[in-house]
C-alpha cells in the first residue's frame, strides 16, 4: 500500500485508540469540578486528590496490594508447573496447563460467578484474601504462557553442559535455568500486575461489598455522577500500564513474548 494511505490508516487507528484517553486527560485537569472539554483552566489538584483523599488513597492501596500479591501467587503457581512440563514427559500433566489457560479464555463473568458461589459456600465470602486467590487463579494464564515460552527458548544442551561440569539438578536450576527465564518471569508478573489493577468483575463478585479496589471505586462513583478524580485515576492507570509494558519491552523481547520469532531468528 502506498505510504500516504498506510500512514493515514495507522493514524486513524491511533486517533481511535488515543481519543478517549486524551479527552479523559483533558477533563482531569479542569480547575472546577465540571465535566468539560476542552478543559477550563489548568489544575493538577485532581491528581493530588488520588493520594490526599482518604477513600481514593485507600482504594489505590487496596488495588496495589491486591495486584502485587495476586501476581506473586500467579507466578508461584505457574513457575513449577511450566518447569515440570518442560522437564518431564507426562502427557496427562497437560491437563493442568489446560486448567491454567481456561479461566482466561472463558467469559470473565463465569469465573467470577464460580468464585462467588465457591466463597459463599465455603463461608469466606467478602474476606480480603479471597480476592487475591481469585485474581491469582484468574490471571495464572499469563505467567504460564510467558514461562512456557521462556523454557522453550532455553537450549537444552546448556543444561547438559552444566551437568557435565558438575552441577546437580538443583544447581542447574539455580545457576542456569532461573537466570535465563528471569525476563519471562518478570514479564509474566508484570502482565498479571497490570491486569489485576484494572480488573473489575471478579473483584466485584468476591469482595465488592467489603473492600473497594480502584475499578470498583470508579464504578461506584460513576453511578452517583461525576467526580474529576475518576479522570485523574484513569490517566494515572494508563500511564502506569504504559510504563510497565514499556519496561518489559526495554528489558525483554516484547515481540517474541507476543508471538513473533526472536529477533536474531528473523
Amino acid at each position: 500500500m502506498s505510504t500516504a494511505l498506510t500512514r493515514l490508516y495507522l493514524a486513524l487507528v491511533a486517533i481511535f485508540l488515543a481519543a478517549p484517553i486524551v479527552v479523559v486527560a483533558g477533563v482531569s485537569v479542569n480547575e472546577r469540578q465540571n465535566l468539560t472539554f476542552p478543559p477550563q483552566g489548568f489544575s493538577l489538584s485532581w491528581y493530588a486528590a488520588i493520594f490526599t483523599d482518604d477513600s481514593w488513597r485507600q482504594a489505590l492501596m487496596n488495588s496495589l496490594l491486591l495486584a502485587t500479591l495476586a501476581a506473586t501467587l500467579a507466578v508461584l503457581i505457574a513457575l513449577p508447573l511450566a518447569w515440570f512440563l518442560w522437564r518431564r514427559i507426562a502427557p496427562w500433566a497437560n491437563v493442568f496447563q489446560l486448567l491454567g489457560v481456561a479461566p482466561f479464555v472463558l467469559p470473565p463473568v463465569i469465573t467470577a460467578l464460580g468464585f462467588l458461589t465457591f466463597w459463599t459456600t465455603a463461608g469466606a465470602y467478602g474476606q480480603w484474601w479471597t480476592a487475591i486467590i481469585s485474581h491469582g487463579i484468574f490471571f495464572v494464564t499469563l505467567p504460564l504462557v510467558t514461562l512456557t515460552l521462556g523454557f522453550a527458548s532455553i537450549d537444552r544442551s546448556l543444561v547438559e553442559a552444566a551437568s557435565t561440569m558438575g552441577a546437580s539438578e538443583r544447581t542447574v536450576l539455580r545457576t542456569v535455568v532461573l537466570p535465563l527465564i528471569l525476563p519471562y518471569l518478570v514479564s509474566g508478573f508484570a502482565f498479571v500486575f497490570v491486569l489485576s489493577l484494572n480488573e473489575y468483575i471478579v473483584a466485584y463478585m468476591t469482595v465488592g461489598f467489603t473492600m473497594e479496589t480502584l475499578p470498583i471505586k470508579i464504578f461506584n462513583a460513576l453511578r452517583y455522577g461525576y467526580t474529576p478524580t475518576m479522570a485523574s485515576v484513569s490517566v494515572f492507570f494508563v500511564a502506569l500500564a504504559a510504563l510497565i509494558f514499556g519496561l518489559v519491552a526495554r528489558f525483554g523481547d516484547l515481540p517474541r513474548l507476543l508471538g513473533a520469532l526472536s529477533s536474531d531468528e528473523s
Binding site: L158, A162, S163, T164, M165, G166, A167, S168
Partner: protein
C-alpha cells in the same frame, strides 16, 4: 588399569538398537575419534560415556571403576557440545569459571585458573567479554577452555568443529591436537569428517549401524580397512569384485592378479585399492584392459576414470606422471599387490 573401557554397551530406543554391543579399551592419554555417518550411534555412545544417556546394558569403566550408574554431574568429565552450549547470561570468564564456582572454589582460585586457561587458548584479556560478542573460533576455544577448567579425567567433544568454516576448522584441528598432547588428557571426539579424524586421532573408531566396524590408528585404517564399509567411508577407494579361480588364483574382471591373496575360505570377495595406488599403463599382459571415459584435471591432481568391463576404476595421478590421456583411449590398469586389500563381501 587407567583410561576408559567400554564393556558390551548397548542402547535401545524401542526396538531400534542405536548402539549395539560396543566394547573398546582406551589407554590413558589417547586421542580417540569416533567416526561414522550420521545415525551410526557415535553421538549416543559419547552421551552414554558422559552419563547423559543411560545404557540399556553394558558398563562404562573409568580408571578401573564402573561408573555406569554415576550421575553426570559426579563424573568430573569435561565436554564440548556441538552447539558449544556457552551460557548466554555469563561472560567469558564466568563461563570458564562455572565448573570451579559450583565446586566452591575461592574467587582468587577461579580468576587464577581462568587467566591460565585464557592464555592456553590464546585469548588473554577476554575474561570480561560477553559471549555474544565472540567470533565462531573464539567461542570454540572458550568452550574448550571451560571443559578443561577442572582438569577433567576425560575430555569429550561432540562434533566440536562442525560450525566452523573449512579453513578455521583445519586450523582448530591442529590446535586441538597440540593442546591434547600438551595436557596428556584422554580425549574422545565424535566426528563425521574423516579428514578431521585422520588429523587428530591416535585411534580412529569407525562406527556403522551401531557397531564398531574397525578401531585402529589412522594409517592402518586407511591402508588396511577391515571391510568395504570402512574402506568406502575413509577416503575414496575403488571397490572391485574378485573371485578365486579353479587353481586358487585371484581374478578381477577376468584378469588374474598374481601375489594377491584371497580372504580365508571365500570364493567371492571385494578388492579395495586407493585411487592414488592405481597405475595407468599401456594395454598388455597382466593388466586390466579398459577404456578411458573421462579425465578430470584439477590442476594439482588428475583423476582418470577408466571403464573395465562395466566397472569404473578411478586413478589419481599428478600432472608429472601422465597428462596425455583422453576419453576413448584404450589403456591398461595395474593394481599393485602390496596396496590392494581383499575384503569379505
Amino acid at each position: 588399569m587407567t583410561g576408559l573401557a567400554l564393556k558390551a554397551i548397548t542402547k535401545k530406543f524401542g526396538d531400534f538398537k542405536a548402539v549395539d554391543h560396543v566394547s573398546l579399551d582406551v589407554p590413558q592419554g589417547t586421542f580417540v575419534c569416533l567416526l561414522g555417518p550420521s545415525g551410526c550411534g557415535k553421538t549416543t555412545l559419547l552421551r552414554m560415556i558422559a552419563g547423559l544417556e543411560e545404557p540399556s546394558s553394558g558398563q562404562v569403566v573409568v580408571d578401573g571403576r564402573d561408573i555406569t550408574a554415576t550421575p553426570t554431574h559426579k563424573r568430573d568429565f569435561g565436554m564440548v557440545f556441538q552447539s558449544l552450549a556457552l551460557f548466554p547470561h555469563l561472560n567469558v570468564g564466568d563461563n570458564i569459571a562455572y565448573p570451579l564456582r559450583i565446586r566452591g572454589a575461592s574467587k582468587a582460585e577461579q580468576s587464577g585458573r581462568v587467566d591460565e586457561l585464557l592464555k592456553l587458548i590464546h585469548l588473554p584479556d577476554f575474561a570480561k567479554r560477553p559471549v555474544a560478542k565472540l567470533s565462531g573460533g573464539q567461542r570454540q576455544r572458550v568452550a574448550i577452555a571451560r571443559a578443561l577448567a577442572i582438569s577433567p579425567r576425560l575430555f569429550l567433544l561432540d562434533e566440536p568443529l562442525s560450525a566452523l568454516d573449512a579453513k578455521l576448522r583445519e586450523a582448530m584441528q591442529v590446535e586441538l591436537r597440540q593442546l591434547q598432547q600438551q595436557l596428556g588428557i584422554t580425549t574422545i571426539v565424535v566426528t563425521h569428517d574423516q579428514r578431521e579424524a585422520m588429523t587428530m586421532a591416535d585411534l580412529v573408531v569407525v562406527m556403522g549401524e551401531g557397531r564398531i566396524r574397525q578401531a585402529a590408528p589412522p594409517v592402518e585404517i586407511y591402508r588396511r580397512p577391515a571391510d568395504s564399509f570402512v574402506a568406502g567411508f575413509i577416503g575414496s577407494t575403488n571397490l572391485i569384485a574378485v573371485e578365486s579361480d579353479s587353481i586358487g588364483r585371484v581374478t578381477a574382471l577376468g584378469t588374474a592378479l598374481p601375489d594377491v591373496a584371497m580372504v580365508d575360505g571365500a570364493r567371492m570377495a571385494t578388492l579395495s585399492v586407493r585411487p592414488e595406488d592405481v597405475q595407468i599403463t599401456a594395454p598388455g599382459e597382466g593388466v586390466l584392459a579398459g577404456t578411458v571415459t573421462f579425465v578430470r584435471d584439477l590442476g594439482g591432481t588428475i583423476e582418470t576414470f577408466v571403464d573395465v568391463s562395466g566397472t569404473t576404476i578411478v586413478a589419481v595421478t599428478t600432472p608429472r606422471d601422465r597428462s596425455d590421456l583422453a576419453a576413448g583411449q584404450k589403456v591398461g590398469v595395474r593394481i599393485p599387490a602390496q596396496s590392494a586389500v581383499v575384503l569379505k563381501s
